[in-house]
């Protein structure tokens, strides 16, 4: 009976729906690998089997032995890479989640990510560390990236609040504005950090000695990964967003405004301010995604590639939806998607497969996560069929409780 009750909880059903989405996605990936393996002469079943194992256990891949068999084991470099790559998408995921919980759909995370990246890189590279201590430069770059993201998020917010322009359309616009502004800014910046034999001009904050604090994670997870304190900061932000949304009056206002703008206004909540604020906070979070990623010091930024939009913004939507827009759940969904990312690179290292197969898996999971509500409904229905009388969804109950305070006269 207790188990039933547990199953009937809303959160449990959400979690189940997510896990089912993930499982179906992984199976779809495995099938893809199998099919590609069967029909490609280079690969064959042996490679396919290797591929499937890597999809499920790529995080624990430990290279290959002399015979070409896969080795598995606990590998701190993999874990470090996973955490490092999770950082930006947790942040963009938080951005999308916060907007969603306050009634907005932020598909502008890519643009905000770029805005944050640009500001952070510029500040981190332009302020000479010979004059200002590196850690102060880091703080300035961190705040700068956050503010730039906030500004970029506030733009569609302003347009929605004052001109009633749908935020999705405005976000598409600000995304491409950001992509083009980045190109323009870096082309004319005069900042050149060429490295060795690389022909492209690249930007790396390590050139100026600025990088994220490590918080001892590099010692905890020794190896060649890029892991740094970014992941800790991302987790702290996830907790902060959770607290903001569930415990504060500001969160109450933002959510009220998001789910019923008229009622919020009636209650004296400034609805326009709330919309702009929601988008600005969402923008700040996405901007921090870019900031934390590039302030690692060793990550190379190639602006030429940003004629297109960075994928982190859109992966953020997947992170958010997969986690039912719960900030705490976003930590895990972010890590899960970066685990797939690591698995993808192992796939291309150790087999003849292309790493983009993991994108197929992610795509399937994202599709399914959009369906997670549907899956949730199915779960509910399935549970109901098992025990019809006890499991009414509370939402459907219109009748009063059995005990009530009204005095009963005779009929």
């Amino acid at each position: 009976m207790k188990f039933r009750k547990f199953l009937n909880k809303n959160g449990t059903r959400s979690l189940l729906a997510t896990l089912i989405s993930i499982l179906i996605g992984l199976i779809a990936g495995a099938i893809t690998i199998l099919l590609v393996g069967i029909f490609d002469q280079k690969l064959g079943l042996r490679e396919a089997w290797k591929g499937i194992r890597l999809i499920f256990f790529g995080l624990f891949s430990d290279g290959v032995d002399k015979a070409g068999n896969l080795l598995f084991g606990f590998n701190t470099t993999n874990i470090g890479d996973m955490l490092f790559r999770a950082t930006p998408i947790i942040m963009t995921g938080l951005s999308v989640s916060l907007a969603y919980k306050t009634g907005l759909f932020n598909i502008g995370a890519s643009g905000q990510f770029l805005a944050g990246t640009t500001a952070a890189l510029f500040l981190a590279l332009k302020i000479p560390t010979t004059v200002v201590p590196a850690w102060i430069v880091w703080i300035i770059a961190f705040l700068g990236g956050m503010l730039a993201g906030a500004l970029w998020g506030a733009l569609p917010g302003l347009m929605k609040a004052f001109l009633n322009i749908n935020e999705v359309l405005a976000c598409i616009m600000t995304n491409w504005l950001a992509a083009n502004i980045v190109t323009w800014v870096f082309e004319g910046s005069g900042l050149q950090c060429t490295e060795g034999t690389k022909t492209q001009v690249i930007w790396k904050t390590a050139h100026n000695g600025v990088s994220n604090p490590k918080f001892g994670l590099d010692k905890l997870l020794p190896g060649s990964s890029q892991v740094d304190g970014g992941i800790i900061i991302a987790i702290i932000f996830a907790v902060l967003v959770y607290i903001l949304l569930t415990k504060t009056t500001l969160g109450y206002e933002l959510k009220a405004c998001g789910s019923n703008r008229h009622a919020a206004r009636y209650a004296g909540i400034r609805d326009k301010r709330s919309i702009v604020l929601s988008m600005a906070i969402a923008g700040a979070l996405a901007g921090l995604g870019g900031t934390l990623y590039y302030l690692s010091g060793t990550t190379e930024f190639h602006w030429q590639t940003y004629m297109a939009l960075p994928g982190e913004g859109f992966t953020g939507i997947a992170v958010a939806l997969l986690g039912a827009c719960n900030p705490i759940a976003n930590i895990f969904t972010g890590m899960f998607l970066s685990t797939l990312d690591v698995a993808g690179s192992k796939l291309s290292f150790f087999t003849e497969y292309n790493e983009y197969i993991t994108d197929v898996i992610i795509a399937v999971i994202v599709y399914l996560s959009a369906f997670s509500l549907f899956i949730k409904l199915k779960i509910t229905k399935w549970l109901k069929i098992k025990e019809p009388s006890k499991l009414g969804k509370p939402e459907e109950i219109k009748a009063p409780p059995a005990e009530n305070t009204r005095k009963e006269g005779e009929a």
Binding site: S259, H262, A267, K398, P400, A411
Partner: protein, 519 residues
Amino acid sequence: MDEKTEKGSPYVIEMLHITKEFPGIKANDDITLQLKRGEIHALLGENGAGKSTLMSVLFGLYQPEKGEIRKNGKVVKIKDPNDATALNIGMVHQHFKLIEVFSVLDNIILGAEDTKLGFLQKKEARRKVKALSERYGLAIDMDAKIEDITVGMQQRVEILKMLYRDNDILIFDEPTAVLTPQEIVELMQIMRNLKAEGKSILFISHKLNEIMEVSDRVTVLRKGKYIGTVETKDTTKEELSRMMVGRPVQLVVEKDEAKPTDTVLKIDSLTVASKIHKNNAVKNVSLSVRKGEIVCIAGIDGNGQTEFVHALTGLEKPVSGKIELLGKDITKFPIRKRSLAGMSHIPEDRHKHGLVLDFTLEQNMVLQRYFEPRFQKAGFIKFSEVRRYAEGLIEKFDVRSGEGPVTPARSMSGGNQQKAIVARELDRDMPLIVAVQPTRGLDVGAIEFIHKQLVEERDRGKAVLLISLELEEVMNLSDRILVMYEGEIVGELDPKKTTVEELGLYMAGAKRQDREVKE
């Protein structure tokens, strides 16, 4: 259809000993309802008495734990709404199920379209709908979009939807809750036409006047239990309300003479623009409300009352005029500051303005005061205090819900949603109470309760500004009546010296008086 059984039973639908449980609640407890062929059968009960649950059982949305359903004497199983449709059972829901951007015709045929090679065949449908609308006196414009037509017209579309599907058992779920008085009169006529054509009607309502007027028999439910079935002609409103509530109900509010003192609200030539047309919705309205009186603005819906209230409460900006609350000019105040200056507001539309439906009951209870030091510290909500406060209000105002303070507002019945709003607003203890249609769609028990509360507030020295469309409420409750017609106050009446007929003449614009605002 089996001819013999059809003749064999006088009942077209029988629901026998239906029991439906939800966690912690018996929503229907051994309920029997028998609908005769060609009758209008009213199902009466308070909000939350189990009417909707019973109809959902009939419609296949819920499966009962006990009991059976018979059609024409034969036991039938209704597992989902498709089964109900196959049995020619149709329902007009309280909140219409129409697609706003589709035309009337498209809405009627939706789900029952004729197609040829995948293309819609609308000609035949158009002919059939036209024939039906003429036969039953249901005037509609088939090519108008739903979003452009009135609520009464939308309801006719819903009725035509049922007729188009050849339904002969028609369920009306509180059909008059959303209608204006004129539309209600029209609907009653439509129902009689349907009955004359041999349709059987189940009419769910808690408005006694309508039940007395149109129904043949009445079945009464209370708190999920079957109370009884009576012939309408053998009963009275008083008896029905006693059956429904379980105790005698005062249909008329008891109150003493008002003893108004100081002016609380003073409005001087307020003019508000209309959102629909170019003229002003409210023209040059001046009035004042004093401590200890209930002033009612009466009028037919759409004569500027909504805009007037919006300008008064700050939801809209007036074109010109001055609003003074307790001697302070609040014309330029934003909403929050206005309400803190001494104004409670029970809004007209409880779903649009009154509640955040996705929030829980307790979150809604603090909607107007979550920012007070009592409920927050440094921006963090004090959840235990919110819970305690909400529980207090729930008990004091008898707000009933499935899970108490944590019930999602959306899942509560309309009457209890309204009670929650009234509780929240009255508990703020403000000198001015603006109550807009505070009893809209409520049952007699809840109406009696809210009326009592408003009179009590008046006697405690509050100024009450009531905006109402219900003549009965206007006559019963108010100490002074102001009639609004086309955005103007056309008359000030004393409820003790006037009649419903005279009031009606003012409301229809047939009569007006020149008046000066009392200082």
